[in-house]
Amino acid sequence: MAVGLPVALAVAFLLARGRFPGRAALDALVHLPMVLPPVVVGWLLLLLFGVRGPIGALLQDWFAIRLVFTANGAALACAVMAFPLMVRAIRLSLEAVDPGLEQAARTLGAGPLDRFLTVTLPLAAPGVLVGGIVGYAACLGEFGAVITFAANIPGQTQTLPLAIYAALQTPGGEAVAARLSLVSVVLAVCGLLLAEWAGRRLRRRVGR
């Protein structure tokens, strides 16, 4: 999440404002995890980041990082799955920022990075926030990609739905499943309330 959001912001900005060859391809690539079955995404990750995969082998040799069947791997799988949702939310809010305001900032002497930080980003902040929350929620609920790529190791790569599922498969595990489901409901409601509260504050700041 922490890594994913800035990357999502950058990609969303590229897609919202950029005019470059391969923009459509990037767009498709970003959205792929949303339309593919999660198990397929997990398997593709396994191919790419597996110990013998092209990227996985490099990580292993150079940095001694192993992603498969680790907590970091679970985070990667979640991030990839949540990525398109974040990009979409952020991109929409970036596109909603009036380019006229950026032009105005330009005539007032603000360079590209200055304009982005002082005009575009503050005005798109509600969308970036929503992107973060949506991404967080999607991560919490991720199942297929994680179980395929990182397996279901309790305490390491077990996400909430995985734990609930595992509990349900165990005889007499309903009580555990109910507790975990409650946790998941509480987390989700907290997330939504936080998003609502922060979104309202931000919107009031930008005067809408």
């Binding site: 009036d98 006229g100 305001l101 032009q103 105005a104 900032a105 330009r106 005539t107 007032l108 002497g109 603000a110 360079g111 200055d114 002082t118 005009v119 503050p122 005005l123 700041r205 930008v206 005067g207 809408r208």
Partner: protein, 358 residues
């Protein structure tokens, strides 16, 4: 001096414009919508990079197509006031005003002065969305001024305002003009704004310059589209010469011409601009007697232009340096045998003269 020569092709429209204008002073780009006024402004601001051309303001070259020089907007120091204000909604009025100031090199235009000049001190802590249209536009003008521009562009700053709001802002614009020695390029299609504020006029039509020059010269010409308008009339630069409170009259001097008008509330010596509607001027070859008229101005016909569509003739009269424009019937032109060089008397009702601040 502002030097601008621009060429740019759009789909179905070619802009090919060149003009120069003295600085400081207000240069008004005037023309119907689609004439290319806003495009010229975008090019002056650097938001549009024309295919070829050259822009220089007081010697600073902002664009030179031949040399490949292009100064981007953020380094041009050209302020722009948009028609729709474009204040940053997430910042207070004060932060909006300081946005350009913080990014500009130290300059002569101070925060307190601008706030005072535009009368916006009470608005500083407010958010843009709580302001009225007129207030927003004043803040936008202040924000552009504080970026210490070498040139201020105003793209129809009053067009989105109703008549009352316009009347509220116009005096501020006039104050700005006299208080700061800043070249201003002002776009409008409202003639009353032209007469009130322009020093130099650039007439645009279909992407070309029809005529460019001092306002007093262009408004006195009978061959321009301005003269075909209902509100045609020469603008003259004048000075208050005398007051006659007992007669409730003031005497104005414009070149060698003297005009009596109803008492003007300003001290003797004040510079003013006059507008004399072309349709209000009567031409004569002999002075009438026993008439309510105060102003019988001797002059010489400069040109006579027929306007077939209106069944009218436009006569330029040189009244000793000040040029008047009169719209009369072609029949009258024939009866009085008016032709270039002929001596003539212009009869001007005192009540017909519009007296405007300089």
């Amino acid at each position: 001096m502002i030097e601008a020569a621009l060429r740019h092709r759009f789909a179905g429209f070619t802009l090919d414009v060149a003009f120069t204008a003295p600085t400081p002073g207000v240069t008004v780009l005037f023309g119907p919508s689609g004439a290319g006024k806003s495009t010229v402004v975008a090019a002056l601001a650097g938001l549009l990079r024309p295919e070829s051309g050259r822009i220089a303001v007081d010697g600073a070259v902002l664009l030179d197509g031949d040399a490949g020089a292009f100064v981007p907007p953020e380094r041009r120091r050209v302020g722009l006031v948009f028609q729709d204000a474009r204040l940053f909604p997430h910042l207070s009025v004060e932060s909006n005003l300081r946005y350009g100031l913080r990014r500009a090199p130290a300059g002569p235009i101070g925060f307190a002065d601008v706030v005072d000049l535009l009368g916006i001190a009470h608005l500083l802590p407010r958010r843009p969305h709580t302001l009225s249209g007129g207030e927003r536009q004043r803040v936008a003008i202040g924000r552009a001024l504080l970026s210490q521009p070498r040139l201020l562009l105003m793209d129809e700053p009053l067009a989105s305002l109703d008549t009352a709001r316009k009347a509220e802002i116009l005096p501020y614009l006039l104050r700005l003009k006299t208080a700061l020695a800043l070249p201003i390029v002002y776009v409008t299609h409202a003639p009353d704004e032209v007469f009130a504020i322009a020093d130099t006029l650039v007439l645009l039509e279909a992407g070309r310059v029809l005529a460019a020059g001092p306002l007093v010269e262009l408004t006195a010409r009978g061959d321009l589209p301005l003269a075909a308008r209902d509100d045609a009339g020469a603008v003259l630069a004048a000075e208050l010469a005398e007051h006659h409170p007992a007669r409730r009259l003031s005497l104005l001097r414009a070149g060698a011409m003297r005009l009596w008008v109803p008492l003007v509330d300003a001290p003797v010596g004040t510079k003013l601009r006059l507008r004399i509607p072309a349709r209000e001027i009567i031409l004569a070859t002999m002075a009438p007697e026993a008439i309510s008229l105060h102003n019988i101005v001797p002059g010489q016909v400069r040109t006579v232009t027929e306007n077939a569509a209106r069944h009218a003739a436009l006569v330029e009269v040189d009244a000793g340096g000040a040029v008047l424009l009169a719209r009369i019937t072609p029949d009258a032109v024939a009866r009085l045998a008016l032709r270039p060089g002929a001596p003539v008397l212009a009869l001007i009702k005192s009540m017909a003269v519009d007296v405007l601040p300089h």
